[in-house]
Amino acid sequence: MKLDAQIPEGPIEKKWDLHKFNLKLVNPANKRKYHIIVVGTGLAGASAAASLAELGYKVTAISYHESPRRAHSIAAQGGINAPKNYPNDGDSIYRLFYDTVKGGDYRAREANVYRLAQVSNSIIDQCVAQGVPFARDYGGLLDNRSFGGAQVSRTFYARGQTGQQLLLGAYSALSRQIGLGAVKFYGRRDVLDIIVADGQARGVVTRNMVTGLLETYTGDAVILATGGYGNAYYLSTNAKQSNASAIWRAHKKGAYFANACFTQIHPTCIPVSSDHQSKLTLMSESLRNDGRIWVPKKQGDARDPRQIPEDERDYYLERLYPSFGNLVPRDVASRRAKEACDRGRGVGPTKLAVYLDFADTIKRNGRDWIVQKYDNLFDMYQRITDENAFEKPMRIFPAVHYTMGGLWVDYNLMSTIPGLFVLGEANFSDHGANRLGASALMQGLADGYFIIPYTIGDYLARTKFTPMKEDHPAVVDTLSAVDNTIQKLVAVQGNQSVDQLHRKLGRIMWEFVGMSRNAAGLKKGQGEIRKLREEFWKDVKLPGTALEFNQELEKAWRVADFMELAELMATDALHREESCGGHFREEHQTDENEAKRNDKKFSYVAAWEFKGVGTPPKLHKEPLKFEYVTPSQRSYK
């Protein structure tokens, strides 16, 4: 199959408008005849489900959470971008587009990114209309702050709880539609596979997590808005349940997986403290606006940081990148922190941390000012570390945070399976090789509120559907395949718990497919992943039965899928013989240790076709053309 991204003709600022005009419409009275299944009700899924129901479609929304309000999106802290230019500092749609393409290290599609920047202003309008309480200034107008990778203030925020407020906004819109009967919501349902009939995505198989019973839901199109796969590393800032199963199963059914190795390691997380650690906590990157990052100049300097005089500190980001300073993009900040620790200048008990220091800002603006801006973050830090960051600098270290890779989608957000659409972090679309801060919330809501409502109509209007019944062979076969796999899992009765095996996978991934990678390590990693996968299927131990509330079984299914996806991540990283954004190959760096791209050979999206577990996947390339932003060595000096 040839990849066609369906990018519309015309100048970049007209593409989306022209495209919308050319899309086929479904007549209002016919909309209720179409049934759309939305999997996932985080920002992307909830906004899509609500908007589609408002248009008149029949919508079924499914989530493994008891309520849409519990989705991982709720945890986003820092903010959401939009080039409103309220601060009058020279922002524009074009500048946001430019920053995002550059921030992504020239591995994203220009047309998609431009559209994202274009619709982002409407997101802010929409959220305010829903009653989202964004931060305001004393004149009562909306306040902005700046985020890594940008020199303008374009980030809207609600204290350190922006994701919560945006999700509650989308959740309220969705609740309204559920109340009106336009959306049926099924919570505590785990989608375990996608039903593809006659080449079209027509439904899903779920496990009712309370009773353990398998169920099927069928319709005319399926939307996956199931989030990212950072938990392949076991320790990450993602919520504990975040997983890849829905997209991985879709991949196995024919959806290509794009840029699997593009993972974002976030620079400002609370360092790991012990082996019992179950997850990592992010300290919002917005803190880099007012905190200064440093390490002692002397190796192994174990003095209390407050005793270390100014001239014995290395504010390395300010030194290396005078114009962006502490606000360089995440990939750069993370790599430099690792480098400092690798050189023996790390701090804290494990020596795997750097300081983020607020002393100067507190001196300049006072403690109250910080409380206003970041209070809950300082609180959170104290709760976890038992240290007061007003008095002593925070200790931070990079952690896995976000996955830019995901299912390949065209400009309409449709995967290579007709009728299967993918939104939010689950798709690969807009962030290239590195996502800038405050742009995932933007993308999730852009996809859900302002893109899918148009593009799905075109698909529905152009497509002929045969009725789907419970006894359709595609339904029956998918259901029994899922059932068989569950039986197989329960029957292993080995010696290791799911968590034990998952931690092992995490260690392999962090060591060989982590912040910096090389060919030898990646090959070794692939081998170890394969071995571990075999070990999993021989030695996993599950308590209880499949026909009851069984959280270990839920985890086992997800970890089994991570074991397969992990190998693809390593394969993709190995094939990409260049460094770009979050993908740093040690063999490819400049004299100043910056990522060195190879545009001649790798200016493409790597879309992988599944060929069987343990069989090498087939690579398809979608060439990237840059007509507006000329790729150059990213410079934040």
Binding site: S47, I74, G131
Partner: protein, 246 residues
């Protein structure tokens, strides 16, 4: 550190439950309470026993999944945090810790510490929104909102829907949860059009779900992980009176 844990075990909604005693050792003070449960569960799985079921996800106090009644208090001894934010340094070495689910008629038990809080969703569906469709909204800065008011609205909006208020209340009242939403939208200009219908509908649904009424004991405020103030309940009461009287 070592602890004795007495945990509510209940196979499913139809079964009877009971407190079961477990001993844990090798706990460090920087472990979170949920990490202690993780550790216990690993041991139970090893022995071939059923691990303790509990809801959790974000583990940073924002998703509202992890409601537990610990030593007689919603989310345990610390103020202003959820169960997942509780660290073992909050307990004394050797202490006995009793862990129960959030109990209320409106929250049926699913298994062990897991309860069904979908009643909260149905209250939201009754009116916890502003009726705007996607698209066609005015510029975000078209309506200035005084910072003071926006800040109070934000305080109310920070509710994580965990149900601690209900579990803490002797009447199992959901007033603080409902008031937080009613108050947020009553304070903001966006919420004005549906102000009356909203408060009436949400309270009616709250009653229907079997939550009790408020007798001003304020234990909800004391146990709320987001420290949401009972002044929002007062505001809701005023809203309700105005709505039914006009």
């Amino acid at each position: 550190m070592n602890f004795t844990l007495k945990i509510w075990r209940q196979k499913d909604s139809a079964s009877k439950g009971e407190l079961t005693t477990y001993y844990t050792s090798d706990i460090t003070s920087d472990m979170s309470f949920l990490e202690v449960l993780d550790k216990l569960n690993q041991e139970l799985i090893k022995r071939g026993d059923d691990p303790v079921a509990f809801d959790h996800d974000c583990r940073e106090g924002i998703c509202g999944s992890c409601g537990m009644y610990i030593n007689g208090r919603s989310h345990g001894p610390q103020r202003g945090g959820a169960s997942c934010q509780l660290h073992m340094r909050s307990f004394k070495d050797g202490e006995t810790i009793v862990v129960e689910p959030f109990r209320a008629k409106g929250f049926p038990i699913i298994k062990d510490l897991v309860v069904d809080r979908s009643a909260f969703d149905r209250i939201m569906q009754a009116g916890g929104f502003v009726s705007v469709d996607t698209g066609g909204t005015p510029d975000a800065n078209a309506i200035p909102i005084p910072k003071k008011i926006a800040d109070v609205a934000m305080n109310a909006a920070s509710c994580i829907g965990c149900g601690a208020c209900v579990a803490a209340c002797k009447n199992s009242s959901a007033m603080l949860f409902v008031a937080a939403k009613v108050s947020q939208l009553a304070l903001l200009p966006q919420g004005q059009t549906e102000r009356k219908e909203r408060v009436i509908a949400m309270l009616a649904q709250m009653d229907k779900e079997g939550f009790g009424s408020c007798t001003n004991t304020y234990s909800c405020e004391a146990e709320c992980p987001k420290e949401i103030s009972v002044t929002h309940i007062a505001r809701m009461n005023r809203e309700y009176l105005k709505a039914v009287l006009s």
